[in-house]
């Protein structure tokens, strides 16, 4: 057959029942919309999260070093069209007021043009840092109160005098009280150079901030950032961060949500595919006689498959186009349905390319899932043109194997496209195959049990329902597998989503500290805490802090370790070794969990417990000996435990925690933390400056609120996506249940001719569909519960109880849904009149 004739045939197949065609396209479109809609929602949520996360960093990528940033970075940034760079130099230094005679240790930053790229430095009076002259500074309110100066006054930093031009009300940044020494002062880059502080021996921190073009994907940014450590000279002295990595407090939540999004995107493929498969199955069943005619006049089965496949491809293209447009627009409909849930600035993006991608993915999935039901043409005997009860032909084994290989390849390819990870796609395809096999076994067991169940004592409804499941050609197996897979997808998503949202909500640090207090001397603490109490502070806490320099690890001098080049055995980030370390001691907060070794378990040595990421960076492990230089006094601590820390709590936590008593004699200060209502903060700060001038308050409310905002958006995004996917899944489930209820008008007519009432027949059908749904729900729900339990425990670190009641709920829910949808789909059949038994 020529291509044009085949195409013409495929087009002609679209004639006929317009209602069937609309139903077919609508069902396909719903399946494709599930895939593309989830994909678009995932994209929107990721973009939204990325937008908010990079406001915390102020850039897409930050490159930090204690040395000047290599010049080669310029060429690398210039190589990306639309990318740009600005630089910030930070150093800790003293600011002084000659008028008041007071001085204060501050974090002094000289910023380049356009800083920050994302978020903003909010100044009072309003303006931008670009407006600053080289002899002007913008300062945190703490500087004004502690130096007792006002806007327009002069302060001295290094060799230069500056006019205070504005106060800084808000700035991009991150929570890092443990490493921050004082309130912020901003100047221009040239202003910083005027101070003369950039000379030999200065402790300047260089930061190059890079903004990527707006259309750059987060994965591209991450890949580019990762490549810097290979391409820049002296990369081991560099600390490269992307927006998504910059906040330890939200990083884990981001990772969990990303894994959930990937799961949702993949499960949407199953939902869409199952919907397509069942529709094609029902359509092929309705075309059996046409297939027999084509076979009788000489069409080979594979030619019929190609003709019908071309027809499905045409419809799939139309449906995919509709579905992908609808799906990609779906995020924009969110405000209509979830106005009260939607944050006012929730970011939404629309990418026309996603429609092309969605259409191609939709056609691919439609064809992959359509092929197995289409191979039913091999079973159609041409003898049906003579006898409608001609027995079906056995399908060739090669066809059966090829159809499963085709669907496996289709699922693998689509999963790869959807997840962009081959290994994940392989795991997913394997999981679907195992679930399909389990459901097939379940369906066979159901058929066998139905055939052998003694029916004498059962009610007529159950007898009919059970008999219908067991009768040859009832399609029980296909229906159970399809329904079961849909139930599996919906239930698994619901279970994972529920646990994730629960965790995201519990992660919201509603009582996290809003102010940190640096350099509190031990004898000042009673006074400081009394002042905090006056201002109704809650969650007041103080821990001792010793500043120290790391001298050696397991006998190896850090200066030697730091000069090793990349490619060395350990490849440590150098800044970890060379920076000033802060060590606390005492009991661990509940945010800490020992993951290796045992806390304070060595009676013969002074011990230290390391945070796991920090230990990895140091190349230290349980048993390692760390030597510190504490203000000239050498102290040796043995690593006896490694901890994971729940940074999301925002509490005071440290990379290094020494055994109680080990550092008692070392000179130390206290790090305080408390939560103060916003209205009390300024008054507290003013009084603190008057009574305890050496104590530096670091207000973190604005940063805290930004992090809270990101966490709330994550939670919102997960809920919206989950609700959408579950809703589409239920719609597809309803469609699958409806297609399982094939046209039974002849059966209804016969039962009516025998005197059975319509309501009774409806009851018989409801029992049959309900049993089918209940079994599918139970098997699919059980598989989902096990998989969700494993996913939560292994892929995310959320863990969670085994939800034992989920399979029962899935069985009951699917049973009711299948009965209702089956009856709806059988409405026309139920209206059949007894006279139809007399017709052919």
């Amino acid at each position: 057959m020529r291509f044009a004739d085949g195409l013409a045939f495929a087009l002609r197949e679209t004639r006929g029942s317009r209602g069937r065609l609309v139903f077919f396209v609508a069902s396909l479109a719903l399946g494709v919309a599930a895939i593309t809609g989830v994909s678009a929602l995932v994209g929107s949520i990721e973009d939204g999260i990325r937008d908010r996360s990079r406001e915390l960093l102020g850039a897409d990528v930050s490159v930090q070093s204690r040395r000047a940033i290599p010049d080669e970075l310029d060429a690398l940034v210039a190589g990306i069209e639309g990318a740009r760079r600005t630089d910030v130099l930070d150093l800790s230094t003293m600011a002084r007021s000659s008028a008041s005679g007071r001085s204060r240790l501050v974090e002094f930053a000289g910023v380049g043009a356009h800083y920050p790229f994302y978020g903003q430095v909010v100044l009072d009076p309003p303006g931008t840092l670009d407006d600053l002259a080289d002899d002007q500074v913008a300062v945190a309110p703490e500087v004004l109160s502690e130096l007792r100066v006002a806007i327009g006054d002069r302060i001295g930093i290094g060799e230069a005098e500056f006019v205070v031009a504005a106060t800084v009300l808000d700035e991009p940044g991150k929570l890092g009280a443990a490493f921050q020494v004082g309130p912020r002062v901003f100047a221009t880059r040239a202003g910083l150079e005027r101070t003369g502080l950039l000379g030999f021996g200065s402790r300047v921190r260089y930061r190059a901030l890079v903004q990527m073009p707006a259309t750059t994907r987060a994965s591209t940014v991450d890949a580019w950032a990762a490549s810097l450590t290979n391409t820049l000279p002296g990369a081991v002295y560099l600390r490269v961060e992307t927006a998504s990595e910059s906040q330890p407090t939200i990083r884990r939540s981001l990772e969990r949500v990303e894994r959930y999004l990937a799961l949702a995107a993949l499960l949407s493929l199953i939902l869409g595919g199952v919907g397509v498969a069942q529709i094609v199955r029902a359509w092929v069943a309705s075309r059996t006689q046409a297939v027999a005619v084509l076979r009788a006049i000489g069409f080979r089965p594979r030619e019929v498959l190609v003709l019908f496949g071309a027809h499905v491809a045409l419809l799939a293209f139309a449906a995919s186009l509709v579905g992908s447009i609808a799906g990609s627009l779906l995020p924009f409909a969110l405000p209509l349905v979830a106005l009260d849930l939607l944050p006012t600035d929730f970011a939404l993006s629309w990418e026309p390319l996603s429609i092309v991608r969605g259409t191609l993915l939709g056609v691919a999935i439609a064809l992959a899932f359509a092929v197995p039901p289409l191979t039913a043409v091999w079973r159609v005997s041409p003898a049906r043109v003579l006898r409608s009860d001609a027995e079906p032909l056995p399908p060739p084994r090669a066809v059966t194997i090829a159809s499963f290989a085709f669907i496996a390849l289709g699922v693998l390819g689509s999963a790869w496209a959807q997840s962009r990870s081959l290994s994940l796609a392989l795991y997913f395809t394997g999981g679907v195959a195992v679930a399909g096999a389990l459901l097939t076994v379940g369906a066979r067991a159901l058929t066998a049990i139905a055939a052998r169940t003694p029916r004498e004592r059962l009610s007529a409804w159950f007898v009919h329902g059970i008999s219908a499941l067991a009768r040859p050609g009832a399609g029980t197996r296909g229906a159970v597998v399809a329904l079961g897979l849909a139930v599996l997808s919906v239930t698994m998503l619901a279970l994972v989503q529920s646990r994730l949202v629960e965790r995201l909500r519990s992660d919201l640090p509603s009582d996290a500290p809003s102010v940190f207090l640096l350099d509190v001397q031990p004898d000042q603490w009673d006074g400081v805490s009394a002042l905090l109490a006056q201002h109704h502070a809650i969650n007041v806490r103080a821990v001792p802090v010793v500043t120290a320099r790391l001298a050696s690890i397991d006998g190896a001098d850090v200066s030697d370790l730091a000069t090793k080049t990349s490619g060395d055995e350990l490849d440590r980030p150098r800044w970890v070794l060379t920076r000033e370390q802060r060590i606390t001691w005492g009991e661990l907060s509940p945010d800490n969990r020992i993951v290796a070794g045992a806390l304070w378990s060595d009676p013969d040595h002074a011990e230290v417990s390391l945070e796991e990421g920090f230990a990895r960076d140091l190349g230290a492990h349980v048993g390692s000996v760390l030597r510190f230089d504490v203000q000239g006094v050498p102290i040796e601590l043995r690593v006896t435990s490694i901890r994971s820390v729940q940074w999301e709590s925002f509490s005071i936590n440290f990379f290094l925690v020494a055994e109680p008593g080990a550092l008692d004699d070392a000179p130390h200060a206290l790090l305080g933390a408390a939560r103060i209502e916003a209205g009390e903060e300024q008054a507290f700060q003013d009084e603190l400056a008057q009574q305890f001038g050496n104590v530096t308050p670091i207000r973190v409310r604005s940063i805290l609120e930004k992090v809270l905002d990101v966490l709330q958006k994550l939670s919102f995004g997960v809920q919206v996506l989950g609700a959408f996917t579950v809703a589409v899944g239920l719609a597809i489930l309803a469609g699958v249940a409806a297609t399982a209820a094939v046209n039974r008008s002849r059966e209804v007519a016969l039962l009516k001719a025998l005197g059975v009432h319509r309501a009774t027949i409806a009851g018989l059908f409801a029992t049959e569909f309900g049993l089918l749904g209940a079994v599918s729900g139970f098997v699919g729900g059980t598989a989902a519960t096990v998989l969700a339990w494993q996913f939560l425990g292994r892929v995310t670190d959320l863990g969670g109880a085994f939800v034992w009641w989920a399979p029962i709920a899935a069985a009951v829910g699917t049973g009711v849904l299948a009965a209702a949808c089956g009856l709806l789909a059988s409405a026309r059949a139920l209206a059949a009149r007894p006279i139809e038994t007399l017709r052919g």
């Binding site: 004739d5 009788a296 000489g298 080979r300 030619e303 043109v385």
Partner: protein, 227 residues
């Protein structure tokens, strides 16, 4: 074996509950090229089953089927399809037209399958020959039973098969319409020299055939030929 169709000890059994039901029992038939044969018998005698086996639509339980010197009962499904495509045409009692295709397109289908050049012209001529030149673009549902069977005749003759199998071709038509269809069938066959094997339970219709094979309970009861 030079016959157009030959059956040797042809047997067909079908499952009926736990038992096997014998539909055809060791039937021997030989039909020459160009011959016109009617298969007669009461309902359930195995007429349609025999037709299906001879046409390669179905497979025998035992015995052999030969078409134009080629044994077909051991051919694969694909080979049987090719055989039907190249040598066999069908007319059915219930017409078996594809409902979503027009009359012209229904007749066109077997020609498109073989990629015949000038197929549309050939189909238009055939439709004119069966008296439906004005109904070419009508769908089956828009045609009367007689017209549908004319379309089916045109479709059957379109690829110019060597053998035409007709299963109760007038069974769904009234007497006058049935007679006109039979006349048309005879006319088309005579012009092309096609071998005709026709199944009917109507002895009047069977009388038009050159030879009549009477079946009863799956066995050949009698064979009679015109003088």
């Amino acid at each position: 074996m030079n016959a157009a169709v030959a059956c040797i000890r042809l047997t067909k059994r079908l499952p009926s509950g736990p038992e096997m039901l014998t539909i055809l029992d060791s039937v021997d038939v030989e039909i020459a090229h160009g011959e016109s044969v009617a298969i007669l018998g009461p309902s359930g005698s195995g007429k349609s089953t025999l037709l299906g086996l001879m046409a390669g639509l179905d497979r025998p339980t035992e015995g052999e089927v030969w078409i134009s010197g080629r044994r077909i009962d051991r051919l694969s499904e694909d080979e049987l399809s090719m055989l039907r495509r190249q040598q066999v045409g069908f007319v059915f009692q219930s017409f078996q037209l594809l409902a979503n295709l027009t009359a012209l397109e229904n007749v066109l289908v077997p020609l498109e399958l073989t990629g015949v050049r000038g197929a549309r012209d050939r189909v238009r001529k055939l439709l004119a020959e069966v008296g439906l030149e004005g109904r070419a673009h009508h769908y089956p549902a828009q045609l009367s039973g007689g017209e549908q069977q004319r379309v089916a005749l045109a479709r059957a003759f379109a690829p110019e098969p060597a053998i035409l199998f007709a299963d109760e071709p007038t069974g769904n038509l009234d007497g006058a319409t049935g007679a006109s269809i039979l006349a048309l069938l005879a006319n088309l066959r005579a012009r092309r020299g096609t071998t005709l094997i026709l199944v009917t339970h109507d002895s009047e219709i069977a009388r038009a055939a050159g030879r009549r094979i009477h079946l009863r309970s799956g066995r050949v009861e009698e064979v009679e030929a015109n003088a």
